[in-house]
């Protein structure tokens, strides 16, 4: 098991945001967490990547307990989090944004090689290499955010709402690239409101509702569940 999350309880002040979440990600998988706004999807990712603390339970990565480890350590271990809303560094150039993604790595040649690989996945970023991040279009910013996330050469990539605010064509492209990244050996934990797209590329899925996992299974099973169909797929 690559990532094992057991019984997370996370609070924002008095608000009980995650109420005993447990799931796991196997090596090479795309696992998706779907659910409505406020279900706790982003909170789950933020807890894994060390931005939030859990009161109970544990997170294990490659068998090691990484519960409540500082964010920078998590990145070093090989988990990279591409946050919701992209959060690229607007006043930094594309190149500088990518270099920040490789902050935990030291060998400039290796970093250069990874950057070339990122450009192979996102050729558009190469064209804009010296442009400021803030001047990119929404789709390009999403590509930059993902490229930046890949610069640490993660084993596990956490993607939070990569389709947000993008046109249907761009969403298709982004999801195609996510599949590519996965085929190159990176496991992916994908959080999406666009359940249809997420379920179409994922191996397994979990459905979150108000801080609890209410359903889980293979992507196909989940997609065929009548409740999911009614609530998330609009069928």
């Amino acid at each position: 098991m690559l990532l094992e999350v057991h019984n997370l309880n996370v609070y924002y002040g008095a608000i009980h945001a995650l109420q005993g979440i447990s799931f796991h990600v196997e090596e090479g998988e795309i696992v998706t967490l779907i659910g409505a706004n406020g279900a706790g999807k982003s909170t789950t990712l933020r807890t894994i990547s060390g931005l939030l603390r859990t009161r109970t339970g544990y997170i294990r990565y490659k068998g090691r307990d990484i519960t409540n480890t500082p964010a920078q350590e998590i990145v070093k271990m090989g988990i990279s989090h591409v946050p919701e809303g992209r959060k690229i560094f607007a006043p930094l150039t594309v190149r500088e944004n990518l270099l920040m993604g490789a902050y935990t790595r030291n060998d400039p040649n290796e970093i250069q090689r990874t950057m070339e690989r990122v450009f192979a996945s996102f050729p558009r970023l190469k064209e804009r290499i010296n442009q400021l991040g803030g001047t990119l279009s929404g789709g390009e910013q999403q590509m930059l955010a993902m490229g930046r996330g890949l610069m640490s050469r993660p084993t596990l990539l956490l993607l939070d709402e990569p389709s947000m605010g993008l046109s249907p064509i761009l969403v298709e492209e982004i999801f195609r690239i996510i599949q590519e990244i996965n085929q190159q050996g990176t496991s992916i934990l994908l959080v999406e409101q666009n359940a249809h797209m997420a379920l179409s590329i994922a191996h397994r899925a979990y459905v979150l509702e108000t801080g609890r996992i209410v359903l889980s299974g293979t992507a196909k099973e989940v997609a065929e569940n009548p409740m999911v169909k009614a609530a998330y797929l609009g069928v």
């Binding site: 946050p83 930094l92 902050y103």
Partner: protein
């Protein structure tokens, strides 16, 4: 998630619109008066003007060294570090002890007796400056750890008040007899002041003699201050554009949480920022003490506040803004001293602050606070 409500202009301001023009007219008039005074004086006596300009330049470059620390720290933690002026003061005192007590500026001469005296003074003085910078760095990192870091997530006002507290602490703790003492202390320079005057070419001012009438004089300290200040600017540009930690500083200043997701140790970057700012202030403190040759524990207050005004004038958070703001502040102060009266200098400095806050609160290079969705 916050939803920003579009602020509609309150009715009361809409009714008062003509008054804004009265205000603008006043500032335009003020600008014209200043331009008139400077212009007529420039024509009447260009040498005096040039002399004042040189002293303004010297002051401006000292302010620039302090203003950088304010602007960098503000850029990254959104804190006006009011203790920064006092770190500058500690820099001056560190060099005083190094020179007057420990004769550190003479170490090359005593270690290598045959050394060229100029080279000895040069190496000795650089040692003194570097040591003072180091003292300031250690002090600033300690302050940051002890006073600011525990307040990282507290409301901004708490950290601001703490900064003022740290500032008072340094001033009054320093004034204790067994620390720096409350007295004015004549500062012993690590090297001699040499002055030149410009009149049909550049001539050395002989020791014990005055420069002739109607000439412009400048000293080696003037040249050193400009040199060091420019060097610091270039170094900082290199740091934030080309080095990993510098780019990380900019990343943290834009979005600290995203920076953490990159694996950036934000606390270390913040400490580093404080350290760099303090090193510059330390160098500034030494040069200021050498130039004005009298030190006491409240020496940092006014230069600190004026450098703060300079940072605001240039646009707080902007590195080139700090330099431009500082040079304007230096000139404003020198011109006031030269053409109006010396005690007016502080009043003019803070009037500039008020005018900036009224007309363009974001400063020359500042951009209006971006709205985050």
């Amino acid at each position: 998630m916050q939803t920003a409500q579009a602020p509609s202009t309150p009715v009361i301001y809409q009714q008062r619109q003509p008054l804004i023009w009265v205000g603008r007219g006043f500032f335009i008039l003020l600008g014209l008066v200043v331009a008139y005074i400077l212009g007529t004086n420039l024509i009447k006596n260009p040498t005096l003007f040039a002399q004042i300009f040189i002293s303004g330049l010297q002051l401006g470059f000292v302010y620039a060294m302090i203003a950088l620390g304010y602007t960098m720290v503000y850029g990254i933690v959104k804190l006006i570090n009011f203790a920064h002026g006092d770190v500058f003061m500690v820099g001056a005192f560190a060099s005083y002890y190094a020179v007057a007590k420990y004769r550190l500026h003479q170490w090359p001469a005593s270690a290598f007796p045959g050394i060229n005296p100029t080279l000895s003074v040069l190496i000795g003085s650089i040692t003194v400056i570097l040591l003072s910078m180091l003292v300031c760095v250690i002090l600033a990192i300690t302050i940051e750890r002890v006073a600011y870091k525990p307040l990282r997530d507290a409301p901004r006002i708490s950290a601001l008040i703490t900064a003022i507290g740290v500032s008072f602490f340094l001033e009054f703790y320093g004034a204790l007899n067994f620390v720096f003492s409350p007295r004015f202390i004549p500062y012993e320079r690590p090297f001699e002041v040499v002055a030149w005057y410009i009149k049909n070419g550049i001539h050395l001012v002989m020791p014990g003699q005055q420069a002739p009438e109607n000439s412009v004089t400048f000293s080696n300290i003037f040249l050193i201050i400009i040199g060091v200040s420019v060097l610091i600017q270039l170094f900082l540009q290199y740091l934030v554009r080309r080095t990993k930690i510098g780019i990380a500083m900019r990343a943290c200043s834009y979005d600290r949480q995203a920076a953490r997701l990159m694996g950036i140790d934000v606390d270390r970057v913040i400490s580093f920022t404080f350290a760099v700012g303090a090193a510059f202030a330390g160098a500034g403190g030494v040069l200021y003490a050498i130039a004005y040759s009298l030190i006491w524990t409240q020496l940092g207050i006014l230069p600190g506040l004026k450098a703060f005004v300079a940072a605001v004038l240039g646009g707080i958070g902007s590195i080139p803004g700090a330099l431009v703001g500082a040079l304007i502040m230096g000139q404003a102060e020198a011109m006031t001293m030269g053409y109006i009266s010396t005690p007016m200098r502080d009043a003019v400095a803070f009037t500039i602050l008020i005018i900036v806050l009224l007309l363009r609160p974001t400063g020359i290079f500042g951009e209006p606070e971006k709205e985050k969705a």
